[in-house]
Amino acid sequence: MSLNAREVPSSGGGGDRVQQAALPADLYPARVVQVVDLGLQPRKPYKGQPKDPMHHIRITYELSDEYMKDEEGNDREDMPRWLSEKMPFYNIGAEKATSTIRMKAIDAGGVTGDDFTELVGMPCQLVVITAPHPQYAGQEINYVDGVTGPVKVKGYEQPELVNPTTVFLLDEPDMEVWETLPEFLQKLIVSNLEFNGSKLQGVLGAPDNKVESTSLPAPEAAAPPAPPAPPAPAAP
């Protein structure tokens, strides 16, 4: 038995983290702050039929005008709220794929060449909805229901990102970025079905994954954690 503190279940924030209430359902200005390559991930069966594994990505948005609260309920302006969503990564020609819809919404001008790593920093609006928390009765959690183009209201200037943008790619793993990723996300990436023999495995010096199940280890969509606290801002 190990005593690895990272394996101890979190109490839902821990330390001095203040429980954050879900945002009311609404549209929120945001910018893409992080894009993470999740690799080939198994998928849940649909109507009893197994589904082939799919390459997945995770996009994280930094809300431009919503902040984490301190113990007294005041905005922490150095800590804007983040929301993430995970999706299968399809060819841009798949018009109904969430990944395509997101690309077309955020980059309506086509400046990224459909490269998701180029989305970081770009403005958009999130359609945020609430749902009962799947783990904590009586609490709510936010989901991204949709993404539209940026706010176009006269006089509104969307703030720049507070946090630095990050991109994590499996074929070029940046270990500085890797270290900033939360534990559950690292586990999800390591569980990808092409981890064995990958560059990331080599850098981590990790043993091979045992691919025993086609179910996701901890489906983020079914049981998302509380919105991740952004890393501390870099020193000027």
Binding site: P24, A25, D26, L27, Q125, V127, V128, I129, T130, A131, P132, Y143, D145, G146, V147, T148
Partner: protein, 281 residues
Amino acid sequence: MGAPIPVLIDADVLAYMHSSVGNHDEFDEEGQFVRHVIDPFDWLTQSLRNHVDEIQEACGSSIEPFMFLTGDTNFRNDVAKLKVYKGNRQAEKPYHLANMRAHIRGHYNTYLSKGCEADDLLAIAQTQYRKEGVKSIIATVDKDLLQVAGHHYRWEGYNFGETPVHLVDEFGSLEDKGKKVEGTGYIWFCYQILAGDNADNIPGLPGCGPKKAYKALCEAVTAQEAFGIVLSLYRDKYLETATQELTEQATLVWMVRAMDGEGKLVHFNLQEHIDGYKESS
């Protein structure tokens, strides 16, 4: 293939309808309450999407519809002195209503009202299209909007049938259906000033129920004549405060038809109606 007809959808009603089925109580075999279930939101958005497609098809339109939602502020809350506007609505709102409203705003061409209701924006849009000679269709189940001239469509609900696209003329009509009175156009507006509107907690003229209002107005043939009857009944009831009381009730039931050059709402104007109101003027 449909025509490029703007369909103006009352999304307040649509959002409520499609979110109200998203939560329910579960009971065991003995009828004992087990738990309250909130359905996944994406089940509801699928039914909304299908419904919008059906409305488009029924209206014969090939272009994206326009959605209209009511925002946080409404002039009627300030106008209503006799009774709190919609003060009779105390039912708990469906869990997913706020989600559905956000979803509509994020996925459709949506106008969110400021200082008025979605109904007013629908009336303004339809009136503007008519002035430009464009056929537009208001899609709703709300009877209040039938006072607005132009094309209308009512989709099927739990306890009412579909009314296919039909044209409402400016003066409109009143019909005694036995248990209730139905109407359209300007005369329907006049009827509502008298009979009020229980659904919105608008009292109308005290002592003047649907039957009396219908009887007073059913033979009027011009807008000026109809409004004259309304004014006369208010004068009988209120004497010197008649115009003040009438203005309150009329402002509440009147669907705003226009904005001025500064984007401000053009509200009900008593003199304009005494002189004989013309929507297209």
